[in-house]
Amino acid sequence: MSTVLSSYAATQPFPGVLPRAAAPSATPRRRLTHLQALEAESIHIFREVVSEFQNPVMLYSIGKDSSVMLRLAQKAFYPGKIPFKLLHVDTGYKFREMIEFRDRYAQELGLDLIVHRNEEALAEGANPYKLGTSRCCELLKTKSLLDALREGGFDAAFGGARRDEERSRAKERIYSVRDPRGQWDPKQQRPELWNLFNSRLAPGESIRVFPLSNWTEMDIWQYIHEENIPIVPLYFAKPRPMLVRGNQLISTEQEFVPRLPGEKEQTVMCRMRSLGCSPCTGAIRSTATTLPAIIEELVSFRRSERENRVIDHDQDGSMELKKRQGYF
C-alpha cells in the first residue's frame, strides 16, 4: 500500500498493446522559431476567448496588425470558419484605399463585418481641424467604439494592439478588463500567469483581448512576408500627392485639410508606415515597393511607427489618458 510508483515514462511498452511511436530520444530536438512560437500563443488566446465568452467580436482596423490578426483567427478555427463578427469603427476619414481594401477582402473571405460610424457627429461636421485631434478622436473613435460594442452586446473584443507600440501599452495585459463605461484602470489589472486567463466578469463589464501583445512591428512584417498576407497598398511606396510641411507629409484626401498661403500639393514618392485617418496620419518618404524593401527600411529606421500619428504625442503620456477613457 505504501509503495511509491513513478510515472510510466521509463517502462517498456505494454506487451501486445497498440503499437507505439518511436522513442522520444530518437527524435531530433524540437524547437519552434520565434514566429511559430508567437503564432501558437496567439491561436491559444483566440480559442480560449471564443470558448469562454458569449459574444466576442474582432476590432478590425484594416491595418497590417488587423491583417495578421485575421490570419491567426483563420488558423485558430480551421477547418471551421471564424466564429465571430468583425467590427470596423469607421471615423469617416479613413483613406479611400483602406475602405476599398476592407470591402473587397471581407467579401473574398466571407467575413461577417459590421461597420459603425458616429453619423451624428459627422453630420455636425466633426473634424480634427474644427475640434482638435483630441476631441475629434473622442467622438469619432472612442465614443463610436463604445456605442458599437454596447449595441452589439459584445462581452469580449479582440484588438490588434502590441506591447511594443507605446510605453503605456507595454503594461497592458492580454485580457484587459473594462468597466461598464469601457474604461481602464492600470492599477486594477488582474495578474496574468502562465497561459491561464481569468474570464470572469461582473455584469456590464467587458474585456479587450490582445492576441498580438507579444509581437513586434518587425514580427508583423516578417509574418506578412512569410504568409503572403494581403495588406492595403498604402503601405507600399508610390508617387502620391502630398502637402509637404517640414518632415511631415499630409494627405489632402479630406477637403477640410487647410492649405497654408501659397501651398500646393507636391507629388512625393512615399508610403504609410501605419494607417489611420488621412488628415492625422503622415506618410513617410520611401522607395520601398516590396515587402523585403519595407523590412530593409524598417531595420534602418530609427523612428517608432506611431511617430507619424498626431494623436499619440499631444502630450506626454497621452495614450494612457485615452486608454483610461476607453480608447483601445
Partner: protein, 520 residues
C-alpha cells in the same frame, strides 16, 4: 542589424531561424533594473530616435539629467510621478541570434504578484543586486519566488560596480553570499556577472575595468544560453480548448500541446472519461502534420468517435497524469483580502474550471526563509496549501510541467485572480494510501472473470491497493483513482482503460506486473 553586405532576403532568412527566449528581471527598488533594461535596449539599438528624444526631454524635466535610461521603460504616469516602476512591463529586443521578450517587474514588496506574473512564462531570470548594499531581504524573496515558479536559469547581476571601484573582493563576497541563498532553490544553472548598467560595463560588451572577470557579458550570455524546458521531455498532454465540428464529417479537438509530442497513430487516452483511441490526424491551416510538440497549437482528430469536451485532456496512453481531489501546492496570494479556509474559490487548471477550498499548511517567513504555521494567506504571502477540488484534477507536478501543474485561484464574488498555485503532489488519504496516484490505472478485463480475479489477487499480493468494479462507473472510478487505487473493471466498453493482452490469464497478469515493476 542589416549590414550593407547582407541583402533583405538574406536578412529574412537569418531572422527565420531565430528562436525566442523569454526572461524576467527582478531586484529591489533602486538596484538599477530599469537602467539595465534601458541599457540593453539602447545598446542593442532597439530604441527609436523619437523615443530617445522623449526620454531626454522627460529626463531633464524630472531628474535634471540628460540620459535617464530608466525612463525608456517606466511607462505609466503614476510611476513617472513617483520615479519608480509599479507594474510589470514587457520589452522586446533582438540580436543577430535571438529574439527576446523581457518582463520588467517592480521591486516593491507589495508588488510581488507582478514578479510572479513575469516569471510564470519566463525561461530565464536576471536578478539584480546592488554592489554597495549587498543582499537585501527582497533579493532573497525574489530568488525564492523565481525558483518556485520553475525558472531553471538564473543570472545574478552585481550592479553598480562602478560605485565600488570595480572591487573584485566585493564581487566575490556577494557571489559567495548569494550562492548560499540560491543553492537549495533548485536552479539548474546560476551565472554571476559584475556590471555597471549606468556606464554599460559588461552589459553588452565585456569591460576592461573587470580584468579579473573572465565570464560573458549579460547579453553574450543571453544570446548563447541553451534553455531546456521540462515540458520538452515530458509525456504528451493536450488540454482540449474547443471541440471543432464545422461539418458532420469532421470532429476535431483544438488546443495547445502543453507537454511532450504526439504522432499520427499514437495511442491516447482522454481524461477524465478514460476513453482510449488513436490519433488519426493532426490538423493545421498549413496542412496536416505527422508530428506535433509543445507548445504548438493544433487540432487533433481521433480514430474513434468518443465523448470529449472542453476541459478534458488527451494524454499519452502509456504515461497518464496523476488524478486527485486533494493536493499540496505552493501558493502565492495576491489579494488584499486574506485567504479564507474552507471558502469555495474558483480554480482554473489547464482549460478546466472547477471549485476548490484552500487550507494553509505553512507560510514562508521571507526574512529568515523559515517555514511557519499559517491560518491564512495575506497579500504577497508565499506558502504551502492543501487544495481540495470539487472535481478531480488530472495534473503533473509543477516541476515536471508548468502547464499541467499550475492553477489560478479566482474569487467568485469579486472575480479577481487572488492566487496562483503550483501543484507539488497528491495528498495522502488519511495514512493508508501513499503516493500511488501517479500510476493508478483503469484495467479493462472485457468480461473475463477469472483473469480479473487473478489480476486483483496478484496486485494485492504485491502490496497495491486494488478495487474491482463489475461495470464501468466513471465517477466511482475517479474517486478510487484519486485515492490511489488500481481499478479493475470486469465489464466496460471496449474503449475504456487499459486492455490486458496475453494468450493465457497468467501471461496477461504477468504483463501487467512487468510493466508495474519496471516503474521502480
Amino acid at each position: 542589424m542589416l549590414s550593407s553586405v547582407m541583402s533583405a532576403e538574406e536578412f529574412l532568412k537569418a531572422e527565420r531561424n531565430k528562436d525566442l527566449l523569454r526572461l524576467v528581471t527582478a531586484g529591489s527598488v533602486d538596484d538599477g533594473k530599469s537602467t539595465l533594461i534601458g541599457r540593453l535596449l539602447y545598446d542593442s539599438q532597439s530604441v527609436y530616435e523619437d523615443q530617445l528624444v522623449a526620454m531626454k526631454k522627460a529626463s531633464e524635466r524630472h531628474f535634471g539629467n540628460s540620459m535617464e535610461l530608466a525612463l525608456l521603460t517606466d511607462g505609466l504616469r503614476a510611476e513617472r510621478e513617483q520615479g519608480i516602476t509599479i507594474d510589470v512591463a514587457y520589452r522586446y529586443f533582438s540580436t543577430a541570434r535571438r529574439k527576446f521578450i523581457l518582463a520588467d517587474t517592480p521591486g516593491h514588496e507589495q508588488y510581488t504578484r507582478n514578479m510572479a506574473t513575469g516569471a510564470s512564462t519566463a525561461d530565464l531570470a536576471i536578478l539584480l543586486v546592488d554592489a554597495r548594499r549587498g543582499v537585501q531581504p527582497q533579493s532573497r524573496r525574489h530568488a525564492y519566488i523565481l525558483g518556485m515558479l520553475g525558472i531553471r536559469d538564473l543570472v545574478v547581476v552585481i550592479n553598480k560596480m562602478d560605485l565600488v571601484d570595480f572591487d573584485q573582493s566585493i564581487y566575490e563576497q556577494l557571489t559567495s553570499e548569494f550562492s548560499a541563498i540560491v543553492e537549495p532553490l533548485g536552479f539548474a544553472k546560476v551565472q554571476y556577472v559584475p556590471i555597471s548598467a549606468a556606464k554599460g560595463d559588461n552589459v553588452v560588451t565585456r569591460s576592461d575595468k573587470t580584468p579579473w572577470y573572465d565570464g560573458p557579458s549579460v547579453l553574450e550570455y543571453l544570446e548563447s544560453v541553451e534553455v531546456k524546458r521540462a515540458e520538452d521531455e515530458a509525456a504528451f498532454r493536450f488540454p482540449v480548448q474547443r471541440v471543432l465540428r464545422p461539418t458532420q464529417e469532421f470532429r476535431g479537438y483544438s488546443g495547445q500541446i502543453s507537454a511532450g509530442a504526439v504522432r499520427v497513430g499514437d495511442p491516447v487516452i482522454a481524461l477524465p472519461g478514460f476513453r482510449r483511441s488513436t490519433v488519426q490526424s493532426i490538423v493545421t491551416w498549413d496542412g496536416e502534420l505527422q508530428e506535433a510538440f509543445a507548445p504548438q497549437s493544433v487540432s487533433i482528430t481521433l480514430a474513434d468517435e468518443i465523448d470529449i469536451s472542453r476541459g478534458d485532456t488527451i494524454c499519452a496512453e502509456q504515461d497518464l497524469p496523476s488524478v486527485a481531489t486533494r493536493m499540496q501546492a505552493n501558493l502565492i496570494w495576491f489579494s488584499d483580502q486574506p485567504s479564507e479556509t474552507g471558502r469555495p474559490y474558483l480554480i482554473k487548471h489547464t482549460s478546466h474550471l472547477t471549485t476548490g477550498t484552500l487550507k494553509p499548511v505553512e507560510r514562508l517567513d521571507i526574512q529568515t526563509l523559515q517555514w511557519r504555521t499559517a491560518d491564512g494567506f495575506e497579500l504577497n504571502d508565499v506558502g504551502v496549501v492543501e487544495l481540495e477540488t470539487a472535481r478531480p484534477l488530472f495534473f503533473d507536478p509543477y516541476r515536471q510541467s508548468r502547464n499541467a501543474g499550475s492553477f489560478i485561484v479566482i474569487d467568485p464574488a469579486g472575480n479577481n485572480t487572488v492566487g496562483a498555485g503550483m501543484i507539488l503532489h497528491a495528498m495522502e488519504e488519511g495514512d493508508s494510501v501513499a503516493g500511488l496516484t501517479a500510476t493508478a490505472q483503469v484495467w479493462n478485463l472485457n468480461g473475463r472473470q477469472h483473469r480479473a480475479e487473478l489480476l486483483e489477487a496478484t496486485l494485492r499480493g504485491r502490496g497495491l491497493a486494488v478495487v474491482s468494479l463489475l461495470s464501468w462507473e466513471e465517477k466511482a472510478a475517479h474517486l478510487l483513482l484519486a485515492a490511489g487505487f488500481q481499478v479493475v473493471v470486469l465489464h466496460a466498453p471496449g474503449d475504456i482503460g487499459r486492455q490486458l493482452s496475453g494468450a493465457s490469464d497468467e501471461e496477461a497478469v504477468q504483463g501487467v506486473l512487468q510493466e508495474l515493476q519496471g516503474l521502480g
